[in-house]
């Protein structure tokens, strides 16, 4: 069967002041459909870079990324946008909601770019917000929401287009531990709905509580892969 995510020899370099800065060096990794994988490692080790490349926000210097068998390198920018729109959902440490729009408008955004009708957009956005327990705050702007509520809205946005994969870059990094656990609970629900999850975190306890596998990256290379506490 095809892997949900298949990364092979992934290298990412930046040229800094004429010198190449190697951020990822030959990372190889497969994630199966429905799996929860946590990526750990010290700051600057390349976790976010890996996630961004898998999510089609960044392109590798070398190596391949296949999502459900499709090679991202073969996609032009237009196609890559469609990939981000349809197949992946993102969660960020800083939520990244558009501050001038209500929660509902924020959640509608991926549907808007997907060309859904206004009625369908509203209906699906409201349903997604309700599924993360934010049904009563749909017309609030991000500034009127707590951090946990903002991350819930972001989760609704991440799943509203029914992506197979959700990429979460330190989704609980800005939250207190209780709120963080609520968010993790919702991520488990996402996973129960069949989505593959790739999560970066600095918190080993969190990783152990949700991950099927924990991957540790140090200085751009995979140092270890362990089975998580849940499996």
């Amino acid at each position: 069967m095809t892997h949900a995510v298949e990364v092979e020899g992934l290298t990412r370099e930046y040229i800094m002041g004429g010198e190449p800065l190697v951020v990822l060096r030959g990372v190889t990794l497969s994630i199966e459909p429905g799996e929860i994988v946590c990526v750990m490692g010290p700051s600057g080790s390349g976790k976010s870079t890996l996630l961004n490349i898998v999510g089609g926000l960044d392109r590798p210097t070398a190596g391949t990324v296949r999502i459900e068998g499709a090679d991202l390198a073969e996609m032009d920018d237009e196609r890559l946008a469609i990939y981000r729109r349809k197949q992946v959902g993102f969660l960020f440490q800083s939520f990244n909601l558009i501050p001038t729009m209500t929660a509902r408008r924020n959640v509608e955004l991926p549907l808007l770019f997907a060309g859904a009708s206004p009625a369908e957009r509203t209906q699906r956005a409201v349903a997604a917000l309700e599924s993360v327990g934010l049904g009563h705050r749909i017309d609030h702007k991000p500034t009127e929401l707590s951090g946990g509520e903002q991350q819930r809205a972001a989760m609704a946005r991440a799943i509203v287009n029914e992506p197979a994969i959700v990429l979460a870059d330190e989704p609980t990094g800005n939250l207190d531990s209780r709120t963080g656990h609520e968010i993790l609970g919702l991520m488990r629900e996402m996973n129960d709905a069949g989505r593959t999850l790739l999560i970066t975190t600095h918190d080993r306890a969190i990783a152990e509580s949700v991950a099927d596998r924990i991957i540790t990256i140090v200085d751009g290379s995979i140092e270890s892969i362990e089975q998580g506490g849940t499996s």
């Binding site: 960044d58 920018d77 237009e78 469609i82 960020f92 990244n96 001038t100 729009m101 955004l109 206004p118």
Partner: protein, 435 residues
């Protein structure tokens, strides 16, 4: 994704930059207004060149004014019979019509109705040669007969002593005056000699009756409002000495439109002020050309500045929204969609400005029309008759209105291209990291 679906993004973006939006659109408002005025003037002129020809007098007629000051303070040349003869001798002159204003007639009455007339005395044989057409009747043959301009039968109002003093008098219905007798109030002021012997000598007032023997067919504005009597009647009414008579106004008829300029120049060289439909049009044309040029240049400059303003505003707002662009890309916006959002924004700024400019130019055109009409009226109506004809020198047809808004939107769109392309090509990660 259709544009309609993007509109909420565009509108919500615009809503949060109201002041900046207003300032940015202002340039477009000015530019559009100037360009619309320029074009509307061009359209109006074209539409009016032929129409106004009739208003200003027949195309072959040259109006010569008497009583002007001569060069270097010398006394001006006098329009007398000698001059009339000289005009008649000029090459390409077909006929000469001297006229003298009957200033002693104050008003005329018919039954309960009253009208203030411009009455001119003309030699009827010359008048006939000028080819003025009669609507009905014939030309006056003696000094008890009068010929009325085309609009006079509709120019009567109720006699003012029938009503309260100073109140506006309602207009009378159109009167059937042919064959009827009008009573003119003729006032003769004391002559110089009489005044010397008795400074308190009163003005003499008498009533004279005239029979309307003819009504003219509509022709030019001035003729339509004038009543004509024989030259003898005018001399008599004005109490003039026949040998010393001089005319206020002589109309010279050229044999063709092409010779008007030459004849007019010859008469001007003799020291007279003249005007003709041609010379007024030439003056108007050159004035309008200057106005059009100024408006065009102003419009082009304003539009250019406005376009730069839009580019600048868009660049600024895109910079401020860099992170949002990153977010939109992360949730699946393609470069093309991002470009469309910002192009839409720029086009709407242009369109708003264009709509504002259109409104301003419509108001400006209306004002300018009033002004130009007043100007023409004062130039043509030497005896105070003001035309009620409405001549619109600025015209804004529907297509021009639509064009103006579309053009402004187009300018906005063009001005937005550079910033929109830059926004579209932003690297999503760099954009997301932007503070």
């Amino acid at each position: 994704m259709r544009f309609r679906d993007l509109s909420f993004l565009v509108v919500s973006n615009l809503r949060r930059m109201k002041l900046r939006l207003a300032l940015t659109s202002l340039g477009v408002v000015i530019g559009t207004a100037a360009i619309v005025l320029m074009l509307s003037l061009g359209i109006g002129l074209q539409a009016n060149m032929t129409a106004s020809l009739g208003d200003l007098g027949a195309a072959t007629h040259i109006n010569v004014m008497g009583g002007g000051m001569g060069p270097m303070g010398t006394e001006g040349v006098v329009l007398n019979d000698e001059m009339v003869e000289q005009f008649g001798a000029i090459e390409h002159v077909e006929a000469v019509l001297p006229s003298t204003y009957v200033f002693s007639i104050q008003d005329v009455r018919y039954r309960r109705y009253q009208a203030y007339l411009n009455t001119m005395g003309v030699p009827m044989d010359a008048f006939e040669k000028f080819g003025y057409e009669l609507e009905e009747g014939r030309l006056p043959r003696n000094n008890k007969e009068i010929l009325l301009g085309a609009v006079i039968p509709t120019s009567f109002s109720f006699a003012s002593d029938d009503l309260f003093m100073g109140g506006t008098t309602p207009t009378a219905p159109e009167l059937d005056l042919l064959g009827k007798r009008l009573t003119a109030k003729v006032v003769t002021y004391p002559t110089e000699d009489e005044y010397k012997s008795d400074p308190n000598a009163p003005a003499k007032e008498e009533k004279r009756k005239f029979t309307v023997v003819g009504i003219l067919a509509p022709s030019d504005m001035q003729t339509d409002q004038t009543a004509y009597v024989t030259m003898d009647a005018a001399i008599d009414l004005n109490d003039l000495d026949k040998r010393k008579v001089s005319y206020e106004n002589v109309i010279v008829k050229a044999d063709s439109v092409n010779s008007v300029a030459e004849v007019e120049q010859t008469i001007m060289d003799m020291g007279f002020y003249t005007f003709s439909a041609r010379s007024i049009q030439d003056q108007l044309k050159s004035v309008f050309l200057i106005i059009q040029g100024v408006l065009g240049a102003l419009g082009a400059i304003a539009m250019l500045v406005a376009a730069l303003g839009i580019t600048n505003t868009m660049t600024m707002s895109i910079y401020e929204r860099t992170r949002e662009i990153g977010i939109m890309k992360a949730v699946g916006a393609s470069n093309r969609q991002i470009k469309r959002v910002f192009l839409g924004e720029a086009a709407i700024i242009g369109m708003l400005g264009g709509t504002g400019g259109l409104l301003f130019s419509a108001a400006g055109a209306a004002l300018a029309n009033l002004f130009v009409q007043a100007l023409i009226a004062s130039q043509t109506a030497t005896t105070g008759g003001v035309s009620t004809e409405t001549t619109s020198f600025f015209q804004i047809p529907v297509w021009l209105a639509i064009f103006a808004i579309a053009f402004a939107a187009g300018v906005g769109l063009l001005a937005g291209v550079l910033p929109a392309v830059r926004a579209a090509n932003l690297d999503p990660l760099t954009a997301l990291r932007h503070e």
